[in-house]
Symmetry: C3
Subunit: 351 residues, 3 copies
Amino acid sequence: MFLWAPMTHASHHLTLADIARHLDVDFEGDAGQPIRGLATLKEAAPDQVAFLANRAYLKDLSTTKAAAVLLHPEHGKNCPVPRLEMANPYLGYAKLSQLFDPLPARDITGIHPTAVVADGAMLGEGVSVQAHAVIEAGVVLGERVVVGAGSVIGADSVIGDDTRLHANVTVCHGVVVGKRVILQSGCVVGGDGFGFAHDGAGWHKIAQLGGVVLGDDVEVGSCSSIDRGALGDTIIGNDVKIDSQVQIAHNVIIGDHSALAGCVGIAGSTKVGKHCMLGGGVGLSGHLTICDGVQVTGMSLVTNSIHEPGVYSSGTGAMNNTQWRKNAVRFKQLDEIAKRLSRLEKSHRSE
Amino acid sequence: MFLWAPMTHASHHLTLADIARHLDVDFEGDAGQPIRGLATLKEAAPDQVAFLANRAYLKDLSTTKAAAVLLHPEHGKNCPVPRLEMANPYLGYAKLSQLFDPLPARDITGIHPTAVVADGAMLGEGVSVQAHAVIEAGVVLGERVVVGAGSVIGADSVIGDDTRLHANVTVCHGVVVGKRVILQSGCVVGGDGFGFAHDGAGWHKIAQLGGVVLGDDVEVGSCSSIDRGALGDTIIGNDVKIDSQVQIAHNVIIGDHSALAGCVGIAGSTKVGKHCMLGGGVGLSGHLTICDGVQVTGMSLVTNSIHEPGVYSSGTGAMNNTQWRKNAVRFKQLDEIAKRLSRLEKSHRSE
Amino acid sequence: MFLWAPMTHASHHLTLADIARHLDVDFEGDAGQPIRGLATLKEAAPDQVAFLANRAYLKDLSTTKAAAVLLHPEHGKNCPVPRLEMANPYLGYAKLSQLFDPLPARDITGIHPTAVVADGAMLGEGVSVQAHAVIEAGVVLGERVVVGAGSVIGADSVIGDDTRLHANVTVCHGVVVGKRVILQSGCVVGGDGFGFAHDGAGWHKIAQLGGVVLGDDVEVGSCSSIDRGALGDTIIGNDVKIDSQVQIAHNVIIGDHSALAGCVGIAGSTKVGKHCMLGGGVGLSGHLTICDGVQVTGMSLVTNSIHEPGVYSSGTGAMNNTQWRKNAVRFKQLDEIAKRLSRLEKSHRSE
């Protein structure tokens, strides 16, 4: 009944015709050509499909050995091999990439004998609960949920259909996770927010009584932290993509379709709009409101709310250390420099 | 004898009188009013207690539907519902929050059948060692210690009374953890410090022979790292609060009652005083001394010791990217700008 | 056959003669003096060896109580105890430190009864697979590999001889790890890279079909993330040392012997040369090339490729917040300040 079998090396036996059908595009060429994977234009073998999604690689098109190339119609004429034309070839590449992911092939339905599933947990059809996973009491797993080896789901949490927890993930108690969510290894959803009251001498912990709600199609990167709310919930909208090493504090709200690159940190109660993009290492102070459509470039610190869509930045670019030392010293004199300039201007005008 | 039962949904059956007694305050109102939780002034239902700890929310006081409000006596007269007056209502909120935390109710005394406890480990009264936890040889657990699912405690480590390791925590070998400490999921206490000697061609690892000592009442956030010392120990004082995604390198010493927000990084051998507060993403270079009572604002880099209490900052605030690009270019010319200004001043004076 | 025994407290019974032999140096003194460990000059007891590797500690030499001191010949004459003279005493310290690491002594060959090893996994001689570890199908472990408690090795990954995974490490599927590699607790090697295509409305995941290749003698710190490649692999060269809380994105390449301090973040497809050193919290944008021999100081952001070896920096040093606020405001006016200066210079010259 339950077999924990080795990973199947995907011998997909896909053909070029299968690929084209998956993308819903026409093509001219050998429909039966076997396709074993994807590669760049430069590296593709004759049984791999390549793609052209960035003009910087146009130079590699005329010499590609790929079985076919996914590209925009405007580049079709320069292609030496069968063409799969799409308005958005990068999107086509994303869709094809799913066909070659070896992970789904190894998900065996069932509960590994070493997994611990509490009485009263409710498991949907087709779930896969892997070795040493722990499902605490009151948990509800939707259909086809995969719980990777060593992952722990705390009491009363609810996981939507088709969601995957990779290995060693922790979902704490009382967390709600949507459908088709992907939680990478080592991430923690629902750890306590950082809340303490000071009595003049030291700290008193504020029990974090809220939860975390992750929308549908969310992804959380490896070793990232999404803390639970103090009273209300921390809320991550639908289709929000969160990279590795990210910290999201209690009661943060992230709007749908926003993307947070690696090492981002967002302090408590800040609200980020929809379709925002935060570059790597960006920091947002607490209690801010960032409107929809804001982009913040890497390692910028945002300490005030942003009410206009656009691109925002802080900091200084890197330079040679010798040069930097001189300039950094001057930064400390900057207010004085500005005042001296004003005095000089005034004096000059009065002559 | 050992029952691994579902989480008890806290049906506390607390009344307003219980709440007031817990805070040691008087009140006028319905002593028997059931209280099922806490909420903000705006969102509180008639069976929830609210609090006013920030003047920004004074506007919500007159319309609150809370069963009672925790507030400073100066705001008492505007409160439409029973008052719980305290000089520090935020502290009162912290104390009440503990009453509604569902976690303690589910801690079942005993060792889960799947936990691995080495012969020779010593376990205090009332410990809870949860599913798939691993307690290595020589470990000593104090009374009522909770070891969450999947957590590992390395050989010869000592854990004080009433300390809680959430799920998937790692305490490495030879670590000393105080009483009432809270380790959030995914954190690692006692990984090797980053020490290597270079022989001109490559690196030779320096075995990290020190340990980590965490004082009483310490909290460590999810996915944070506290590295073990090279020779002596890394030392975290009493009542130090450490948020998620924090990195504390080998032989760092943190004084009592200091608080480190998310994503802070402290390099090796730096000593931070008591009652310091480091904002999110702050970095401290190695071998520094930071005196007591220092606050550093978010994402600042500190490369020199600080000998005076106060607030310290570095960096630049975020601005529109177009504006930023122009200014960032000028930063690289800053030393030259300052020199040009001096020349102009000199020339002007000599006229 | 398999005994899971308590950690042996290393009663090495080493003598001063053993120490000198290990370092291949001569000495004058009591060859039979027992040595139980290493310490600083100041703290060393009469059965500990100390070292002098930094002139700042020369003041402690004349009063040291160490059994012997590892030092450069130029300092030998001031040493009150037996001398172990080496051109690189810090390297000598590194070599000695290995003798006193208690961990190897506790590695018991075998597979803990609670570990899950898939049929078809291949395990070399002398491996130690600890409690609740999970070895998935197709995995190959070299000789003497140690897999710590709770660690998971995904399908088809290959781990080289003498590599150690501490507790709760995750190596995802299809990852290749070299020999003598050390993976600290909580790190994740091979989580998905952060790749999505946008269709105008939302995100489509790009399956991350590449892997991760770690060279020989690599170390990865606690809670660090090394993401798998999108098509090709993420590649970490030989003898690369990576500290805690580091994020390495998909398809990054790091050259041999480079060292990355804590909290470093490297965005996708960036290539770092050999013998580079990145300070704590440094960020590298994506698709850059950093040549060999580059050092970047702490918390600097690098957004352009670097083609010359040297030291690079960005940002501003920390200062008092009151002073900082004034200067940071001026930073936003910097372009305007520079223009005003130019106008004044021009006007002055034309007089």
